[in-house]
Symmetry: C2
Subunit: 890 residues, 2 copies
């Protein structure tokens, strides 16, 4: 495109506005909203926005396009006419603020210059115009400081300390106590320092100031702060920022001036009451700086610290009334709670910014629900307004936001919620603390099945190794307990019973606090606030369910989790891992006896001990899920997790089997695998030694019979793990069917049940059409499927995945959010092939991705029937599924 034909500058104000709120990509959020407000006839100081396109151009060429300069000058002369002022004038100077404004808000990341246009001449003009010499020189002094910092890259502490020295010399504390003469003198000193230190004169020509300021704001798009922020918030690096050049208004010209921020509704509670703070005779920075306590704008905005201060409605009632009428207009126009910045200059109200206001999750839910009730937005819009992950905050206790915490170290935020407790280095110690009425926090190198009891009696779990899907993380999420995992700065000395956290020494028994939502670890007890689920939340979730198509099930291994899940709205169990049922001393021993058995007889004896346990487990779960499907996965032993580790365990096992310790060690060695994840597990074990599966299937069938006779509606689904070939499934399906049918026939009951498989290996996905012939359902085990598709062990990936994210090789942890391009291809291929071969096949997902909103969108779009996640994630999943359905329909 020819440069001359590109429109780079969009004016706003009474004499003509060319943008609107839909043009955020080109004008940035701030610029689009300024134009929108001008269009609405609101009192916006006139100005113009230079587009993001100009920014990208500038970044490429390091110069402002000629055309942009031309259009800028034209816009300025229009403003000069409208306001009757002149840029750089010595009588009635026009001053500008120059602010960044990207497509999405990046608060504080990029640069701003205020009072641009001041120089020796125009400062005098400002003094004249305002009749306030002190104000004029203070404005110039502030401008020089800001410009030197932002535009010239001058080390601002030098000017800052000159100001401090001056205050010391005058023996005053506050800037406001310095006289006009002092400030005028300070300006001269500033300029001298700048030329000495930088070799450059401070620019006097307003136009020069402007071009350089615009360039500096463009450049600030790529400062390291901004880049980091975009990386963290998944914002594209190639958007660029717009620049807003706006005529200055002053809230600091006297007591008929003020500046403030307000919200159209209460941002903490969501209550539909106007809320805000202001300062009389102040500039925006002063509100932020926090030197003076801001006053409440109205009665509803009063709190403990400001309740004695006069309100804006009392001090400047006309301006306040206008503000009230404007906030109503803006909220109705934007159909969302607004965060509005205003300045009152000599009793005249100006609106400097409006945007959707940040709010707590509880407030967001309440606002969304009430706006529907007020007829302002539709239910669909309400459901779309809350980011699903935010919901999680409502379900777990969190740190008291008013408490000033000190963070010792940060690990992975493995299971949300905050918890305090005394460091317990073993499960035994945690149990002992509990017995002594003390709260324990389990701190382990990593957890193993042996630690389940210790985790259960602890307030939370902290580990030094392991990732987001480590044992500790998965079990903690299932239990709804806070967990911080893989904290590399944590060192444990079990012999000394001490730990070092980022160099700080703790004894076992010392209290610490963890925040599983952020991964932070704090010294001592940090107070927490309880989770409360209010009426608005219930209404909101019901609306979500109205739109949802995907069923939501829970991953739960015991009756208690099953109940929790149902309470959170689970429509069944999508994954009942039977491995977890073997934790506990007696059961682990039986499993080990089975693994180390020398013949079928010994295997049988060990399994006979497990049968009643298993049957009881399943009975409990069927009862809890009355009328809802329960998907039980047959044993998928990661063998190594069950091998005896300590001498004591080995000895115990040897005695129980009446063999030598040496034999235990020899067999243990044989059972060891190079790559347990790719080893002799799942259905492979079920095929080579099928007694375990027979025992499990018997337990399921008997439990189903028991419950059925109690009048409970039982819907069992039996899932066979790690299938790579159709034949494996066919063999195990036949075995399973025979056992179940026989038991049902013997007990004379009729219970419908399904047999299916996990799709967790690429080969299973590729040959899904064949496997579909022997399956009634597919459940995608996306954890393992991610491991094999990427060739990436989740236990080992922690060593390099963080660097991979930093380098942009991966956008997010593929174990947390589904890799849609790679793993997702296999999922959708398997669904297509599976459905073609067997139209009655049902599809679910039971990996950790079942609780991740982005992944849920993918699963909805690919036609899965249900997702399954840990009980505490269910509301998140329900909401994400609802949003996916709404977006897909659109």
């Amino acid at each position: 495109m020819n440069d001359a034909s590109i429109k780079y500058v969009y004016p706003f104000g009474k004499s003509g506005t060319e943008g609107n709120k839909e043009m955020k990509n080109l004008l940035g959020g701030k610029g689009a909203n300024l134009a929108e407000m001008a269009n609405l006839g609101l009192p916006v100081p006139p100005g113009f926005t230079i587009t993001t396109e100009a920014c990208l151009n500038y970044i490429k060429t390091s110069s402002i396009p000629d055309q942009a300069k031309k259009q800028t000058l034209a816009a300025i002369s229009k403003i000069e006419k409208e306001l009757g002022k002149k840029f750089g004038d010595e009588k009635n100077p026009l001053l500008f603020s120059v602010r960044s404004g990207a497509r999405v808000s990046m608060p504080g990341m990029m640069d701003t210059v205020l009072n641009l246009g001041l120089n020796e001449k125009s400062t005098k003009g400002l003094a004249l115009q305002t009749g306030n010499e002190r104000f004029a020189w203070d404005s110039y002094r502030r401008f020089i400081q800001m410009y030197a910092d932002v535009v010239m890259g001058f080390n601002s502490s030098i000017l800052e300390s000159t100001l401090e020295d001056l205050k010391d010399a005058r023996n005053v504390k506050d800037d406001t106590e310095l006289s006009a003469a002092d400030l005028k003198n300070l300006v001269a000193v500033y300029k001298k320092i700048i030329v000495e230190e930088s070799g450059e004169y401070f620019p006097e020509k307003p136009e020069d100031q402007l071009w350089k300021a615009i360039g500096a704001v463009f450049n600030s798009w790529n400062n390291s702060r901004a880049i980091k922020y975009r990386d963290l918030n998944n914002i594209a690096h190639n958007w660029g920022t717009a620049v807003n050049v706006q005529s200055m208004v002053f809230g600091n010209m006297g007591n008929d001036c003020a500046t403030g921020v307000c919200f159209t509704r209460n941002p903490s509670t969501g209550e539909n009451k106007f809320f805000g703070e202001f300062l009389i005779n102040a500039q925006g920075e002063d509100v932020v700086a926090g030197i003076r306590t801001p006053s409440p704008i109205n009665h509803d905005s009063k709190n403990e610290s400001n309740k004695t201060l006069p309100t804006l409605s009392e001090l400047l009632p006309t301006a306040f009334d206008e503000l009230v009428s404007i906030y109503n207009k803006l909220e109705k126009h934007y159909r969302d709670m607004q965060d509005i910045e205003f300045t009152i200059e000599k009793n005249q109200l100006f609106i400097l910014q409006t945007r959707s206001g940040k709010r707590t999750v509880a407030a967001a839910v309440r606002i969304a629900v009430e706006m529907v009730n007020e007829g302002m937005i539709s239910k669909e819009e309400a459901v779309l307004r809350i980011p699903p992950n935010d919901i999680d905050q409502l379900l777990h206790p969190k740190l008291d936001p008013n408490y000033k915490k000190t963070v010792l170290a940060t690990g992975l935020p493995a299971s949300p919620g905050a918890a305090s407790g005394r460091i317990a280095l073993t499960s035994e110690m945690a149990a002992k603390m509990k017995d002594n009425q003390k709260t324990a926090l389990l701190v382990r190198h990593e957890t193993s099945p042996e630690d389940i009891s210790g985790m259960a009696v602890s307030q939370g779990i902290l580990t030094a190794r392991g990732g987001m899907t480590s044992h500790a993380a998965v079990v903690a999420r299932g239990m709804g307990k806070p967990c911080v995992a893989g904290c590399t700065l944590l060192q444990i000395d079990l012999a000394e019973r001490t730990v070092l956290i980022n160099g700080k020494h703790f004894n076992e028994g010392d209290p610490i606090t963890i925040d599983g939502a952020t991964g932070e670890i704090m010294d001592g007890i940090v107070p927490t606030v309880k989770a409360t689920i209010g009426e608005h939340f219930k209404i909101f979730m019901n609306w979500a369910d109205e739109f949802r198509v995907l069923k939501v099930r829970a991953n739960a291994d015991n009756p208690a989790d099953g109940e929790t899940a149902v309470n959170f709205g689970a429509e069944g169990i999508g994954l009942c891992r039977t491995e977890h049922m073997f934790f506990g001393d007696e059961r682990v021993l039986a499993i080990r006896q089975m693994l180390f058995a020398r013949n079928d007889e010994e295997i049988k004896r060990a399994l006979d001990k497990l049968l009643p346990f298993q049957e009881e487990d399943f009975t409990g779960i069927f009862r809890a899920l009355n009328g809802k499907p329960v998907n039980i996965r047959l044993l998928d032993l990661p063998l190594h997790e069950f091998l005896p580790q300590t001498e004591k365990e080995k000895k115990h096992l040897a005695e129980s089997l009446d063999i030598t310790l040496k034999e235990i060690e020899n067999v243990g060695k044989q059972l060891e695998e190079f790559n347990p994840m790719l080893g002799h597990r799942g259905c492979r074990m079920g095929i080579t030694s099928n007694l375990v599966y027979i025992t499990q299937v018997k337990a399921i069938a008997k439990a189903a019979v028991t419950c059925s006779k109690e009048g409970i509606v039982v819907i069992p689904e039996i899932m066979i793990p790690l299938i790579a070939t159709e034949k494996e499934l066919a063999i195990l399906r036949e075995l399973t069917k025979k056992i179940v049918d026989q038991i049902f026939a013997e007990k004379n009951v009729k219970i419908k049940y399904k047999i299916g498989t996990m799709i967790e290996l690429p080969r299973a996905a590729i040959t899904a059409d064949e496997i579909a012939k022997s399956a009634e359902f597919f459940s995608f085990g996306t954890n393992d499927l991610t491991q094999t598709t990427f060739g990436l062990s989740r236990d080992d990936a922690g060593k390099f995945l963080p660097e991979y994210r930093n380098l942009g090789i991966i956008k997010s942890d593929p174990f947390a959010s589904l890799d849609q391009q790679g793993v997702g291809f296999l999922v959708s291929y398997a669904i297509k092939k599976g459905r073609e071969a067997n139209p009655n096949l049902h599809f679910g997902v039971c990996g950790e991705h079942g609780g991740d909103p982005d992944s849920i969108t993918f699963f909805h779009n690919n036609g899965l029937d249900y997702i399954s996640c840990s009980p505490y994630r269910i509301p998140v999943a329900r909401l994400a599924a609802a949003q996916a359905a709404i977006k897909f329909k659109r």
Copy 2:
């Protein structure tokens, strides 16, 4: 289809033949060839074939279809007319043999009944007709024994011992010494025993005998022997067998009778000379039984043990002459060397069977070449005639086939060839033996990089653990050394320096022999015969190359292997693994110093030690491959293979780095991985700490420069392993290119080189279109791709894969022969996507599958450019590629 319209019975003989040699699927091999010979006018005793379709029908319904019975009786009456005999006649009885005959030969696996039609009456008829009462009763006695065994399922040892008792009573040694009266009496005793033991009378009615015999032969398709044989030989279980009912002729009626087997060419050497053996006055069984030494049919068939016996040409010249004319006719007709069974009854020659004769590989090659020269077959046909894997036998020494070996135990046939040597339990001991002029055979639990030197000085390698692609197996194949791996019956006691092989005790230094082609392990020295590559083989391979489209490259890591490969016809190196270059004390130490380094400085120091070694390695390989491409894979460390294992190694490393043993252990622990195969390896290491790759790339570039200045044509291809995402490759490609270009520019040379990647993870295959943008070639690493697609660790799979094969879950080891359905899908998908995105992309394969004929066929059909395999497999690969090309064209 209506039963009445199905043709179940196909007669052959002078009065009309309805089958031919193309009808093997319906008539079996034997039946089709009998019909063919009858069509040719050869003297075939008349008979008929009942189809495999009837067999399948019988297996389903347990009864012979009525229509088949009707057609059988019609065929019999035709034969009665032709021969002037009558089935069950008391004067001139017609007797039948009833034989199985499947689509492919399954020698000895199914059942046969001879002399069917005999009973009290017809035996008298036979005596009358032949004038030989003893012969008649002996035939009846044999028939009863055979029928009781095959048809009635009678324990044949009971009848056998009755015969022995009778011989004892008569005090004779040989059956032939019993009189007609003895035999007649024996028949009566047999019948009595049968009715007493089985409760069933022996059938007198010939028709009953026939139906039951046919049913028994049909059933024998599913006896356990036959099922096992089919499993082993990949023969489908649903083919069924035909039954051949043929009028009996007798080679045992006197000295004008004989029976024998002949080959149209020498089956051991392939020489074009008629070759065979016979017995005068004998039945076919007698030749097989080996009681009498068979005589040579002609002068050319004489050997040490039979050279004094008279030949058939001398004893029965008329019949011999007719046989000569027939063998010529048959060979020309079938255009292949034939294995012919004949019987001479009273000077009259009958041909009972013809089929393509089994032969040694050397003979097969010679026959194929000579038949082309004789104008009998085309070059294409010749090339198709040799199963590629057979070629391997010609390249390695093998056990002397004349020596009677005793097999102690069997492991996996990991690298072909036979070798004897003294047991050496460590590499040091093997080296010591070599120094003392003794031959060593390295016996290890499993080998590691440390063992390379020991493997190099040993005759062969035997391991207790590990599969077909274990370290020992891969390295041994590369070295062309025999290896038997994963022998579970081998136990090693390193402390006592002894081993147990299947319970037998050996000291270190005791001699044993292994056969890497069969996996057998033998006590002591078994003599071997050297491999000889003759002139015919060279001609044959040249013809193969004429048809071949796929290029064949070698996997070779050093100049010696490179030379071997070129000698075997390699057209480049497809995989030069740089890991193997780090074996050897000094290098391993440097690698370990790198792994345990605390900072970049230490890493650099360690790598600087490796650079000259690497450069030298690459220089040597480039020289050996002058003018041919060399594909070098950057380091793909399976980390754990390089960690120090013994105290001594750890101490050595600690001293060399000046750190404590405890630090070594701590760091070692941190480097350990749960699943090393899915861990921090390959390009992941190259990205997170790129100094290793930089060193390697420098070494490659410098070596290329050195060779280029020597006038050698260098074609380097740099391969980056374990790519899962395009970004990884893009980053490393840029790094590599920068280094290489800089060195080439500095040295002022121009060398074309390529950068590409292995496709060895499902994700790489799925996103091949993206990865193709940064690659100039793809090399399929089908070993790892198989591991991840199946979720199967090749190091651990040995524990259950054998059972999986037995259960028919997999047809063959997916690490030996490509899983075309699963892994193959990803290969062909990646080729399609890769080629679409980058039409200049080249495709190769460097997994073990590159040497497997079935896999090679797949690779040809999917349009790969080259395959790569270990040097000794190259001829096999060349032949397989040629056959694939010929078959694809057809």
